[in-house]
């Protein structure tokens, strides 16, 4: 029959395993086994509930531990990925623990948004030549339109040059944004701020 201490440990490990749900099974079991070893060795082979509770208390909530591993796993994948979605998920996760992460995720959204808009403008220019383009709408203001709705009142700047420039700037902008996103994740992932106190 399972002692109270053992039951408490199993509950904790079950919560940890649940929190690690998105990690590969082998990795999850390795983490769980490491914590099991830690508790057994700290509290003894057949420990009292009190001894187990003291060790678990020092380890902190299982959900928090699982979250740290899940974040790390996501960031490691994002750091090596070219997927904008994964990069964005990684930076949004970092935004929850650092201001730098917040601004980096905003920058990523802006960068991808601009790159996609420029690319779309280049692709749609032949479809709606009078409504797609870059327009000067004031002294220091320009507007990029993609052909949905009426064009703004102003002077079109690039004309048909929007096609090669939009294609080039869109592709390069996408690449540069991804590179910067990976760079931010690399830097922020190793930041001590991410460690819990």
């Amino acid at each position: 029959m399972m002692s109270e201490g053992a039951r408490r440990l199993e509950d904790y490990l079950a919560e940890l395993r649940k929190g690690l749900g998105r990690l590969p099974g082998a990795e999850t079991e390795e983490i769980v086994a490491e914590f099991r070893g830690h508790v057994v060795e700290s509290a003894g082979v057949d420990p009292s509930e009190r001894a187990v509770a003291a060790v678990l208390d020092r380890l902190g909530p299982a959900g928090e531990l699982a979250s740290q591993y899940a974040t790390e796993s996501l960031l490691v994948r994002a750091e090596r990925s070219r997927s904008p979605w994964l990069l964005l998920r990684g930076l949004v996760r970092l935004a929850t623990v650092s201001v730098a992460g917040f601004f980096a995720s905003l920058g990523l959204v802006f960068g991808y948004g601009l790159a996609v808009s420029l690319f779309l403008a280049a692709v749609r220019k032949p479809i709606a030549p009078d409504r797609v383009g870059l327009w000067q709408i004031g002294e220091d203001a320009v507007s990029l339109t993609l052909g949905w709705g009426e064009p703004p009142v102003g002077r079109e700047i690039l004309g048909w040059w929007i096609v090669p420039i939009g294609l080039l700037a869109g592709v390069c902008g996408f690449w540069v944004t991804s590179w910067l996103g990976r760079w931010c994740i690399r830097r922020l992932r190793r930041s001590p701020v991410r460690l819990t106190s």
Binding site: L59, V193, S197
Partner: protein
């Protein structure tokens, strides 16, 4: 301790926490310098060797990160403990990084120590 510091203890505590966070990676790499250790041994080494009070749950995810960065490697060993232990050891990259961090830390500590000399005289 002066009363103003005691009353305003929170900022000092927060500062100490940040300091600990910033130095924990180097402390772990330094613990592994002489050979392989498992998680609990690393914690004991940190507490006994440096009196660094480390939240236990912090060390394992950090070890996992150091492993992902190729600074440490891990192996499971079946031993006399009755359960397998996960031992960590420094990789060549980890040893290089530990040395670089130690040099930076020593240089920084010496500079700050120099700056703090007048404060130490004040205390006396």
């Amino acid at each position: 301790m002066p009363s103003d510091v005691r009353e305003d203890g929170d900022p000092i505590q927060k500062w100490e926490v940040q300091l600990r966070k910033g130095s924990l990676e180097l402390a772990i790499l330094a613990s592994l310098w002489s050979g392989r250790l498992y998680g609990l041994e690393i914690l004991r080494h940190l507490e006994e060797g440096s009196r660094l009070t480390v939240p236990e749950g912090t060390v394992y995810p950090l070890l996992s990160r150091l492993r992902a960065d190729g600074l440490v490697e891990a192996e499971w060993v079946e031993g006399e403990a009755g359960h397998p232990r996960k031992y960590y050891r420094l990789t060549p990259k980890g040893r290089r990084q530990a040395l670089q961090m130690q040099r930076s830390w020593s240089s920084f500590a010496a500079s700050l120590d120099h700056l703090l000399a007048p404060l130490r005289k004040e205390k006396r």
